[in-house]
């Protein structure tokens, strides 16, 4: 199958773009931030988005979704990225949905997917524990007792954790820290006793929380996937999340680059538009090349997911590394090329710079993925 966008994908992009511009423009994020919104997003706008079918893009139609693929999801995420839209798209639309589809029992699917598609319920993945992304460094224990599993541990950077209706908790049922074997995923409701959620305020004003599990009770029916073999769900889940987040980053970095180009064309110094200076032209041209490369690999990875190619892990790492590095590079350059204005809070450019940092660290930064890529390539 070709990589070019189809007419259906183009019109989906149009729908998403219009919605984001009208209902979740950059000022929306500012309002939530400056008004110290307790949710950190608007549930009302999320339900509107869901009404367009966009919350359940990859959910099969028999469960109330659109039943589309990763390329389509990517198109929508890219548009979310353009306005830095604060929405549960990543936590619920990508992570929660995908975890269920990959590992959920029929009853779990029937219970959750329609409510996700309609925008009523939010899910969250509670996974990372240390100071950087490390998929198998899971110390949270789930010990089997007479009444079920008892979960004990602490999670960081839990996206939308403070407003989630339930958590997918990655825990260790055997093995030790760093082992791929011995992980188990539990679906735990937010009101479970012993579950403590603290909202953290991150530099990008988007939503993440810390979650402490203090003897939280779960039963074998709450397991997603197979006992001790949670990595079989977690690995493909994370690769999908990496590609999806890269698509969102692609939207953000394209937007910040375009805004910078506009600045180069209009801002005048020395009696000429600053974009007429070759020192800046060449920097802009190099940024364009990086944006082109990033777009190409994101598109390739989305198609690889849709076609279920064996190279998905390799491509997911290449894509996340590229998108993370490009976004940071473009955002840094954007600030510099905007001059003094670029470092003011009133200028939107800084919002992109902040987002670039957080997005780059989420699900592994460039260094993490180059290491993983090298391992997959055998060196």
């Amino acid at each position: 199958m070709g990589l070019l966008e189809t007419t259906e994908q183009e019109s989906l992009r149009e729908t998403a773009r219009r919605f984001m511009r009208e209902r979740m423009p950059l000022s929306h994020l500012r309002q939530l931030r400056d008004g110290r919104s307790s949710d950190g997003l608007s549930r009302e706008v999320w339900r509107e988005l869901a009404a367009l079918g966009l919350a359940g893009i990859t959910i099969p139609s028999r469960h109330g979704g659109m039943g589309l693929g990763w390329t389509e999801l990517g198109v929508v995420l890219e548009e979310c990225g353009r306005t830095l839209a604060p929405s549960p798209m990543m936590s619920t639309g990508v992570l929660g949905t995908t975890a269920l589809i990959l590992g959920g029992a029929p009853a779990q699917l029937r219970e959750w997917l329609p409510l996700i598609a309609s925008g009523e319920k939010l899910l969250s993945l509670a996974h990372d524990e240390g100071s950087r992304h490390a998929p198998y460094d899971v110390g949270t224990r789930a010990s089997l007792g007479p009444d079920g599993y008892r979960l004990q541990g602490e999670k960081v950077l839990v996206l939308d954790g403070h407003i989630a209706d339930a958590f997918i908790v990655v825990s260790r049922t055997s093995g030790s820290l760093g082992d791929r074997e011995g992980l188990t995923l539990f679906l735990v409701p937010a009101q479970a006793s012993g579950l403590h959620v603290t909202r953290t305020l991150l530099v990008d004003s988007r939503n993440a929380a810390r979650v402490r599990l203090d003897d939280v009770l779960a039963t074998p029916r709450d397991i997603l996937g197979t006992l001790d073999r949670g990595a079989e769900v977690l690995d493909p889940l994370l690769d999908r999340a990496r590609v999806a987040l890269s698509a969102e980053m692609l939207g953000s970095l394209s937007e910040v680059f375009e805004r910078t180009l506009a600045q180069l064309k209009t801002r005048r110094q020395f009696g000429a538009p600053i974009g007429s200076f070759q020192a800046l032209k060449h920097r802009a041209a190099r940024l364009h090349c990086e944006v082109t490369r990033t777009r190409a690999i994101v598109t390739e990875a989305q198609h690889a997911l849709d076609e279920d190619r064996a190279t998905v892990p390799l491509l997911a790492s290449a894509t996340k590394a590229k998108a993370s590095d490009t976004f940071l590079h473009v955002a840094n350059e954007a600030v510099q090329l905007h001059g003094g204005m670029g470092v003011t809070d009133a200028c939107d450019i800084g919002l992109f710079l902040k987002r670039a940092r957080v997005a780059a660290m989420t699900f592994g930064d460039g260094a993490f993925h180059r290491d993983r890529f090298a391992r997959l390539r055998g060196y």
Binding site: M1, G2, L3, L4, L261, L264, K265, A272, P273, G275, S276, Q278, K281, H282, A284, A285, R286, H288, C289, T292, R293, T294, R295, A296, I297, T299, E300, L314, L315, S317, A318, A321, K322, A367, R370, D371, F373, A374, R375, R377, G378, Y379
Partner: protein, 399 residues
């Protein structure tokens, strides 16, 4: 899949034909540049099957699949040519012919050439009978091609050409040259140029090789001393040379970026090289810095391959590549440079040999390929010139 029923039939037919006609030796990857066939009256065929393979492919017009049959092509649509390419790849067939005539001059002649020019020049190109070289650069006109001074003055039904070209790759083994000449006043810059086809066996043509830092000598300076060239060899109109020359450059860039990936697959993977020179215990390499750089080059290569794939699909869908070709050229060539440099570094002391004992043939090659690769960001337009093109024509930044 956009392949419709009748094309499925074509695929079957092509697969069958290729299986019957492609000699087994031509289904092996090429060992190096010496296996490439460039045609011309001084053609070199390292393997006898190379000649057979070229003849068979040319007999069906498959060296230039989209060209009209009367021009030596097969008259296929772009989509059909794509099927042929896929089938060739499927069988692992070597390209039967490498040629500036096929990649660059042909498309330009089809667009700007007269009927007579097409019928005369295209069939020998498609057969690999004549080899062409590119005469754009001059000592005073490198990046600034509009500064070309080689003069072509009309004298009856001939142009009298005098001047000097430089960096003409492979001129000494070529039969003809397509060149940019000044047919009008010096002050007219772009408007005073013409695109002329010159038979290099004409009296007054003198070709001298230039040696490179890599020790090789494929380049030449070419001197024209009152060379008589029939006026019918001018393509288009006298003032149209710039437009034609630039159109040709877009094909050049697209072709350079497409070929840019070939060496990566032909040569030893970085991982194998690294294990040999950095120590070969299993697990991640100990030199974390080199390993990180390897991964970066490796990933960027994937990114470039996808970018080329997108561009090719877009061209096949009927969109002109235009100035975006500069993006592909720039990236593909700078990536190759990084890769060559990395190989020398991974090889350590073994990457420093020039000739004689102490170094394997591959090691000597790594050194020389690195030196050769420094030209990648110069030939086909320097990186700076491509950045100018991208800034102005892709991004619309002001002058």
């Amino acid at each position: 899949m956009r392949i419709a029923e009748p094309d499925g039939h074509l695929r079957q037919h092509l697969r069958h034909w290729l299986e019957e006609n492609c000699p087994p030796a031509m289904r092996m990857p090429m060992a190096g540049e010496e296996d490439e066939v460039w045609g011309g009256t001084r053609a070199v065929f390292k393997h006898p099957d190379s000649r057979l393979w070229l003849e068979r492919m040319a007999s069906r017009g498959f060296t230039a699949p989209t060209w009209p049959v009367e021009c030596g092509g097969a008259g296929l649509s772009p989509a059909q040519a794509n099927i042929l390419e896929e089938e060739l790849r499927h069988l692992g067939c070597r390209p039967p012919l490498h040629s500036l005539g096929l990649w660059m001059l042909g498309p330009v002649l089809l667009r700007f050439g007269s009927e007579a020019q097409k019928r005369r020049h295209l069939p020998p190109i498609a057969r690999g009978a004549l080899r062409w070289c590119q005469g754009y650069s001059e000592p005073e006109a490198g990046s600034d091609l509009a500064g070309v001074r080689t003069r072509a003055v009309l004298d009856g039904d001939h142009y009298i050409v005098s001047g000097q070209k430089t960096w003409t790759s492979h001129a000494a083994v070529s039969d003809w040259m397509f060149c940019l000449v000044r047919t009008g006043a010096e002050s007219a810059r772009h408007e005073g140029l013409g695109f002329l086809l010159v038979d290099l066996s004409s009296p007054g043509v003198d070709i001298r090789p230039i040696r490179l830092i890599s020790g090789e000598s494929p380049f030449c300076e070419t001197f024209f001393d009152d060379v008589r060239v029939p006026a019918e060899n001018l393509v288009g109109q006298p003032g149209q040379g710039w437009k034609i020359a630039m159109s040709l450059l877009e094909h050049e860039r697209a072709w350079i970026s497409r070929l840019g990936d070939a060496d990566f697959t032909r040569e030893e993977p970085l991982a194998v090289l690294a294990r040999r020179y950095l120590g070969d215990e299993p697990g991640p390499l100990r030199d974390a810095v080199q390993r990180d750089r390897m991964a970066q080059v490796d990933m960027d290569r994937l990114c470039n391959a996808s970018a080329v794939r997108l561009a090719v699909e877009s061209m096949e869908a009927g969109h002109a590549l235009g100035p975006e070709s500069s993006v592909l050229k720039l990236q593909a060539m700078e990536l190759r440079q990084r890769w060559r440099e990395l190989k020398v570094e991974l090889a350590g002391f073994q990457g420093l040999g020039w000739e004689g004992p102490g170094f394997s043939a591959e090691e000597l090659r790594i050194t020389r390929d690195w030196l050769r690769s420094r030209a990648h960001s110069i030939e086909g337009g320097t990186s700076e010139i491509h950045l100018n093109i991208i800034a102005k024509r892709v991004l619309g930044l002001p002058d």
